[in-house]
Symmetry: C2
Subunit: 229 residues, 2 copies
């Protein structure tokens, strides 16, 4: 409920071991049973710790999810590094990056629903628009900046400024769609990613048309005004 106080816990070796055990148990159990079905008591038990000890390291169950996110983010980065190093075409880079998101998250599909709802809550420390999850969001936004920068596409400056954040939002939308996707192998999500990635790049090109200049300026102004707080 309350935002986590940002004070770092100074980690001794003993503490670090406990913390790691608790986190690892939590990640396992979230995958096995889902977020809601995993109780803090079960986490503590599997970690060989006590209930209170878990709360010493993680202020709440939600904060364990935050680590869960960070974990998948690392996996995602590792998965796309070779592609980003090789590929120059923006559509391909975008498609590859977003495809990798859902592929990386696939083992957690069952958990994702309840997590997403937690994340959507503005008063949750996990809400990416503020609170504890903000740094992680910024890492993802930076990743999309890299996706753009490393491509051979020439994006006008005013668009380039807002694009990474917009693509992050796009990724969130894809993830929400993916949560509902019941098709075998989550194929429909992959199709939607392919289609939208192409469409986005196409619209970026069209944005230079004279008729669209006005709308383009307005849209960018809108995004800018929505983002600033």
């Amino acid at each position: 409920m309350a935002i986590a106080s940002p004070q770092e816990i100074k980690r001794t070796r003993r503490g670090e071991t406990s913390r790691a055990a608790i986190l690892s148990a939590a990640l396992d159990l979230f995958q096995e049973r889902g977020y809601e079905a995993t109780t803090m008591r079960a986490i503590a038990e599997r970690a060989g710790a006590s209930l209170g000890s878990s709360y010493h390291y993680f202020p709440s169950k939600e904060h364990l999810v935050l680590e869960f996110y960070r974990h998948t983010h690392e996996l995602h980065l590792a998965a796309i590094a070779p592609m980003l190093a090789r590929e120059k075409d923006l559509t391909s880079r975008l498609r590859g990056t977003v495809r990798a998101v859902v592929v990386t998250c696939e083992p957690f599909h069952a958990v994702a629903g309840s997590i997403f709802s937690t994340v959507a809550n503005p008063s949750s420390p996990l809400n990416p628009f503020g609170g504890a999850a903000k740094p992680l969001r910024e890492e993802v936004v930076a990743l999309y900046a890299e996706v753009i920068k490393g491509s051979d596409a020439r994006i006008p400056g005013d668009i380039a400024e807002m694009l990474p954040l917009t693509l992050w939002l796009y990724q969130m939308a894809i993830l929400y769609f993916w949560i509902f996707d019941k098709s075998p192998g989550r194929l429909r999500t992959l199709e939607v990613i392919d289609e939208t990635a192409e469409l986005i790049v196409r619209l970026l090109t069209l944005a230079n048309l004279p008729v669209l200049r006005g709308s383009r300026k307005r849209i960018l102004g809108l995004i800018r005004s929505v983002v600033e707080h």
Copy 2:
């Protein structure tokens, strides 16, 4: 957690009184204290009922929120009826309708955050993409169909087909923005509504341009494929 069984409770006069008292107490308390701070025990107490009785009429706390939604929807409909009867300009109709949403919801701004997160959860009966909240969503979509139909704008058939649902989604996005809006009188949300309403109608016009034909078809196909399940 479980989806509500759709069996109607046959309401005798006695039952109806109790049900109404519980609902009314819940609506009051949600406004006074917010969703999370309102306990089922407090609702029962204020309603002069017992805890168990509340659960006899409402399968869960979330289902009380659903009624809360329905309540604000009625208020919204009443608020915009005169405007819709008079106004023919699509931009004005759209702006007026969405403005009325946030104005109607203003008394519940403090509650809205936690409610929104509950609603976003795919496994919640309140999730508008399925479950108990679907009928209400369809009412709102129908309202936007009316917003379009009653206007003097001539919308191409393929767009008109998908537009109401898209506008419902747009309304959801505005509401999410509104939740975070801390400006006095929620002025920023109103500004964003004005700007986006104009922009949407402008883009609808532009969609007829030959250069945009391809993208238009693709976007519509995308929406269609995303909506169908």
